[in-house]
């Protein structure tokens, strides 16, 4: 009896800890409300609700949008405040989430703004905020199951975002990484393969900047031919790696296409080479390993327990979590 009680208590504590952790991200948002911006968002929200079917032709809506934009030139701040509004507002059937998506549309900001503001909230436990953020990403990348080939996935802006983060040595939010891999593992792999050299470029630029600054101060920096050689060697290695990954992804996606379209014989012929590529990628960088996990989880014919078990022990948390989880579904 006592043991059962302890188990229940442990269960409650675990749930509570998880909830606290999940709530933290929203709490960070809630800490920083801007009263004027929140009031204007509410005003715009009310106007939109009254505007009827064709809000885009409603002058009052545009007037309120303009007023909102005039409150801050910081686009990130406005979008963050909108996210806060979504997370803290209560409405019947969460209708405010849809209206907020409308507000974001009317703000007409470049995709780079919502990407960098929303990326950390893709996995939030706040239901309204999660729907709001997912809705934006879904409509942006169009990576739904039925999209290709006539309307393929748009990961262009995600590549810019990842490049920027890697170039600055900043951490890429885990929920964002999970999201892009779940939606389109092939595109996500290429995003990382293309962005991987961004840090090298940044370091090279920093080194050049140091030399220029030194010259400006009348100093002649010591020549560092080995540094140039190092950069060149790294660039070559990156380029070779990128090429290999491109080909691997092409071979795997070709096999997936054949399987998906029911060309069974051709798929069986393509399978050994695709498996060979997956084996190689499973020994590569963490983002290549993550690709292997998502491909195996989403495409049962590629599943190899031995590789998943090995990846479940990986030092990268995203890889080990994904490999241990049974819940990776088909792309949403």
């Amino acid at each position: 009896m006592r043991q059962a009680r302890l188990r229940i208590l442990a269960f409650i504590v675990v749930c509570w800890v998880n909830t606290v952790h999940a709530q933290q991200d929203v709490e960070i948002l809630i800490e920083k409300p801007d009263a004027a911006i929140q009031a204007q968002i509410q005003k715009l929200f009310n106007t939109l609700q009254k505007s009827g079917d064709d809000a885009r032709s409603n002058i009052d809506v545009w007037r309120e949008v303009k007023a909102l934009k005039q409150l801050s030139t910081d686009k990130d701040k406005l979008v963050r405040q909108l996210a806060l509004f979504v997370a803290t507002t209560k409405s019947e059937e969460d209708s405010h989430v849809l209206v907020a998506a409308g507000i974001l549309y009317f703000l007409d900001f470049p995709p780079s703004v919502p990407i960098r503001v929303f990326a950390p909230y893709l996995g939030t436990d706040n239901r309204q905020l999660r729907s709001f953020v997912e809705m934006w990403f879904y409509s942006h990348d169009k990576a739904a199951n039925d999209s290709p080939p006539l309307r393929p996935v748009n990961y262009d802006d995600y590549l810019d975002y990842v490049r920027l983060k890697i170039g600055r040595g900043e951490e890429i939010p885990a929920p964002f990484i999970r999201y892009i891999y779940e939606r389109s593992p092939g595109q996500a792999l290429l995003v990382f393969a293309y962005a991987a050299g961004s840090r090298d470029v940044a370091v090279k630029l920093e080194a050049m900047h140091t030399i220029i600054e030194a010259r400006k101060q009348g100093k002649e920096p010591e020549p560092q031919p080995e540094l140039g050689q190092q950069f060149e060697e790294r660039r070559r290695a990156r380029s070779k790696e990128k090429r290999e990954i491109e080909l691997a992804e092409h071979i795997v996606s070709n096999a997936i296409w054949l399987n998906k379209n029911g060309f069974t014989d051709r798929f069986q012929a393509a399978l050994p080479e695709a498996n060979e590529q997956l084996d190689k990628l499973a020994k590569g960088e963490w983002w290549a390993k993550l690709y292997v996990v998502y491909i195996m989880r989403q495409n049962p014919p590629f599943l190899k327990d031995s590789i998943l078990r090995q990846l479940a022990e990986d030092e990268n948390k995203l890889v080990s979590e994904a490999a241990s989880s049974k819940s990776i579904s088909k792309p949403r």
Partner: protein, 344 residues
Amino acid sequence: MAIHMQQMLILMACLTTCAHCVAQQDVDTLLSESNPAIQAQLQAIDRVIRPVDGFSNNVESLREIQKLKELTDDKVELVKQVAIFSFAPGPETQPMTAGAILYYMQIPSRNTIRALAPYLDTKNPQLRSFVLDWFHGHDHADAGEWEAVNYKDYLDYIRWSVNRGVDIPAPFIRYIYERSPDRALLVFATGTADIGGQLKAIGKSVEARQQGRELTEQERGEIRQMQAKKQQQGQERREIVLAEHIISNAIWLDKHGYIVRFQKTLPEVKEALATLIEGEWWARLYVAWIMRRNPAFVQPEMVKRLAGDSNELVKETAKAINLQAVKAAVDVQRPRAAKAAPER
């Protein structure tokens, strides 16, 4: 000699005038549909619009655009009027302003495609700039492999035209093939399926059920025929989709420099092209475009056959393939392939 020269000049002048006449035709047709009230309202918008400032800084123009929308419910007609406005006398930036007005009007893409598709190859520079800017901005087909290429609305447009028996304008067909032959092929393979026949079959069953009777033998026969046709279409579509996949795969390998792998795909590509050339005009048009774009795929006997095709579009595309230039390009590629290092 002088007389000969004079005749030549006269001939040239005549030819230029004729070409000008043909070029002017589409513009004249469009102008004849000009609606004075709508054009006046477009001028009113022109006076207040600031294209680069974004929606929220253009409240005044939005008010004027609202008035414009109230003049007619016909969205295709509105787009047509904006097209007329794009080449009306005015500053050089007139097509750009027309583009901004169209953007601010937020008209569904299907209406814009329907209105502008016939003018994709117009010789009027302003109208062409306006029309091409819209289509380029819509499909992103030249934005590189990362950007989404959007042919979904083109599929809807073709379905809409096929179901109503409306001609698809040749300039539009040329445009979508030139931008992306593979997607254009898939658009036609999907958009031309006989949905009407399938709907008819369903309609017959529903009608019989509503009337509380069994299907007659004749109706059953018709439904069986339609089902067989559907199955055959499905099989044909499957072959087309696979052929396109094989060819795209080869193009990818070539573009990324996997020469050995690319060479290995060539026999299969040849087979895929041979399947497609036996198909409908839109499949043959794809073959012509693929050969025009990829010298390694050119087979002179196929080009000759396509150049004599009964379809004008296929014929003109095949005739534009320069066989000599193709031979030169392939001659350059061959030693490259022989020397290529083995690929993983």
